[in-house]
Amino acid sequence: MSKLDVSRRGLLRTGAVTGAGLALPTIFTAQSAAAFTNDPTGGSVTLGFNVPQTGPYADEGADELRAYELAVDHLNGDGDGGMLNSFSSKALEGSGILGKKVEYVTGDTQTKSDAARASAKSMIEKDGAIMISGGSSSGVAIAVQGLCQEAGVIFMAGLTHSNDTTGKDKKANGFRHFFNAYMSGAALAPVLKNLYGDDRKAYHLTADYTWGWTQEESIKAATEALGWETVNTVKTPLAATDFSSYIAPVLNSGADVLILNHYGGNMVNSLTNAVQFGLRDKVVNGKNFEIVVPLYSRLMAKGAGANVKGIHGSTNWHWSLQDEGSKAFVRSFGTKYGFPPSQAAHTCYVQTLLYADAVQRAGSFNPCAVAEALEGFEFDGMGNGKTLYRADDHQCFKDVLVVRGKENPTSEFDLLEVVEVTPREQVEYAPDHPMFAGGQLGSCNPGA
């Protein structure tokens, strides 16, 4: 009984403190209580997965969510571990992050910057999310990245391809694993040269918003460097559903290559329309007319059906890759869900692991420590070969895939085949490249 030496005085004091704690609201500013926003204090840590669940990109968002769930499973030590086995950094042990169990909340971006920010805010303010990830368009990614910078949490971008995300709108708290428009151009150009020669006349149809413009700029620069001539660039409204009136002028423009800077539903429709107008069977200037879709998405390409056959483009990742990391990921994803993952799923999965790994290595959830651990981090085994998270702009540099619509698909997932893996050196650029100029990272914000 001697151990339980409770003095009357001590008891009173404890009682009084507890009583005060219950009776008096403890008013404190969030600012002073913690070193950074949403410091996880309990046995778990919450991540926020903010993906489009309604609107035209809902299916892509659903695939991203599946990847996140898988990543959380693997981080918590459930399932077969996926890419944790092939990842070059071995800091993660499948016991959560820093020993804390990983939990997650989900939200709907609706592919609108406003709604995406509202959803991300609710994750930060209500659910105490320490990291936000996801998105399926550049506008949303940039908007949410800006929010995370202000709020002091890390943003791990999902599918965003605009140069601006790590260019003029880059932020110290934001990181992008996905490739960008410049890389698409740099990867595609040599392949296009081999296939179609260096004397071509290109006609661009471009979705009339920021992503479209950066892609047009990038592809134009890359193809003109080959010696191609750009006959014309035409902007199409985002809301356009029928592209016939934009395709028709291509017929008599003298161009022999059509480049479709479209994504999602726009891409499906413009490609379908272009094929309808017989562009693929046309011979111009003594050469076969060709169509190029610089940014391919397998999920969306499915909507264009047989029209994608033989059409070249670039993607960040494809499930048919045969390296250890990709195989491990496809195996765990396929076993759990019954179909192979999309490139959006891949980038989201990898981003989650990279974040967890950075926290583990930094030994802290503090966004500044995490950012430091990610900056200049070089890794392998995540499906794209040796990859570098460049410190100057928080962009990942890795191999880029050039793909082509498959002529004889064996299944409904087997739409694309990898034509070439363009090595990382070829798609690298200086941090102050004019296409990326104009913004600054600023300093990392731990919030609070």
Partner: protein, 399 residues
């Protein structure tokens, strides 16, 4: 009080109490509990409640009083947001000039659009406003990108001039919006037992503006001007025959309601300095129509209720996923649990649009007067019950 009769005063008081105590009212469930999912008492959503409340009140001044159904009101909200963000970029991070400018600019914008659109009435007026708003949206998304930053939305950057402020803070970040130094994002957290209540400065600014806006709306509703607007609704022709020119009145109502929208836009930008083009899309205009009708068009408090209802759905229901569902129903046997989750699944998370659509239809079908009518019916039913109880107790002894 304040020139209001007793009933209106009590209505204003109710609104004031509801908004000022919202952090408590909206957080009924302890933080750690499973039902915490339904808590709405966090700054961003509370701000949205009151901002869209202001928007809907303004819309109701036009629609509820004059019967003119504008399908392009979101354009004014968007214009307000853009002006406010430009103010932050060019002048200072103080919200006051930004909000003032947004009200003025959207007022001017409404004056021009209203002047043209009000030449027609009925569905023609709706289509005209819709056309103007869609034009604003399309142009803001593409051609006007230098002003609006297109798809991404207008954001603050580290190299904005900010004449009366700093371009960047000492530690190299973008300064935050404030009211004479009072930061809008400042939040005080109060822990009471298992509950955590958040008091946000930005929210209270919005709440005070809402109360003021609501007060103004009551005054407009009760004024001779409001009476004139009602006359427009009931029979404009007869009004014109009596020699009254109704156009200045409707135009004034249009501009006032445009300024309300601009005020909401300015506040929205003050809480979160970003202005996106999709704020002006016709679906956004449709949303405020839904809010007003859902709550009860023509009533004072209805639009605020409707705004809260829709925003609650958008932000709370969309965040419920299967994982959460399994958490709730984990007490059930496995097979039953999966079955229940399977049944509920289409209506939550990515299915929140479906739930909203169904509820919306139900309200329109069964409660033409909106939620306010629902409330009245419930009140009447309770009263009726009491009366019949009383009657019963009175009649019983006679037996």
């Amino acid at each position: 009080m304040f020139g209001l009769d007793k009933k209106d005063t009590s209505l204003l008081m109710i609104v004031a109490v509801l908004t000022l105590f919202a952090p408590f009212i909206l957080n009924p469930f302890p933080t750690g509990s499973g039902l915490a999912q339904f808590n709405a008492g966090y700054p961003d959503l509370m701000q949205r409640f009151v901002i869209f409340g202001i928007f809907a009140i303004g819309f109701n001044i036009l629609f509820g009083l004059t019967g003119y159904l504008s399908f392009g009101h979101a354009a004014f909200l968007g214009v307000g947001s853009y002006s406010a963000v430009w103010m932050f970029k060019l002048l200072s991070m103080n919200v006051l000039p930004a909000i003032l400018l947004s009200v003025i600019i959207s007022g001017l914008f409404a004056l021009v659009i209203g002047f043209i659109s009000l030449r027609r009435s009925g569905i023609y007026f709706s289509i005209l406003t819709l056309a103007f708003a869609q034009m604003s949206f399309s142009l803001a998304y593409s051609v006007l990108t230098p002003i609006t930053n297109g798809e991404t939305g207008l954001q603050l950057t580290l190299d904005d001039p900010r004449v009366l402020g700093v371009t960047a803070t000492a530690d190299g970040s973008i300064p935050v919006t404030n009211l004479f130094g009072l930061e809008m994002r400042g939040t005080y957290e109060m822990a009471v037992g298992p509950w955590a209540f958040q008091f946000n400065i930005g929210y209270y600014l919005c709440a005070l503006v809402l109360i003021a806006a609501f007060y103004l709306a009551i005054r407009i509703f009760r004024s001779p001007f409001g009476m004139m607007l009602r006359a427009v609704k009931s029979n404009q022709q007869r009004m014109n025959y009596t020699g009254l020119n109704s156009k200045p009145y409707t135009l004034a109502a249009f501009v006032i309601s445009g300024m309300y929208a601009g005020l909401a836009g300015g506040l929205m930008a003050s809480m979160d300095p970003l202005a996106g083009a999709e704020r002006m899309q016709w679906t956004a205009s449709g949303e405020v129509v839904l809010m007003t009708i859902l709550g009860g068009a023509g009533t004072l408090i209805g639009p605020v209720l409707g705004a809260g209802f829709i925003k609650y759905f958008e932000n709370i229901f969309s965040k419920i996923n299967d994982n959460v569902l399994h958490g709730w129903f984990s007490f059930m046997p496995d097979g039953l649990e999966d079955f229940v989750v399977f049944i509920v699944h289409p209506f939550i998370g990515k299915g929140w649009h479906l739930t909203l659509g169904i509820l919306f239809m139900l309200v329109v079908i069964y409660l033409p007067g909106g939620l306010v009518e629902g409330g009245q019916r419930i009140a009447g039913w309770i009263k009726g019950n009491k009366q019949s109880d009383a009657q019963q107790s009175e009649t019983k002894p006679a037996e």
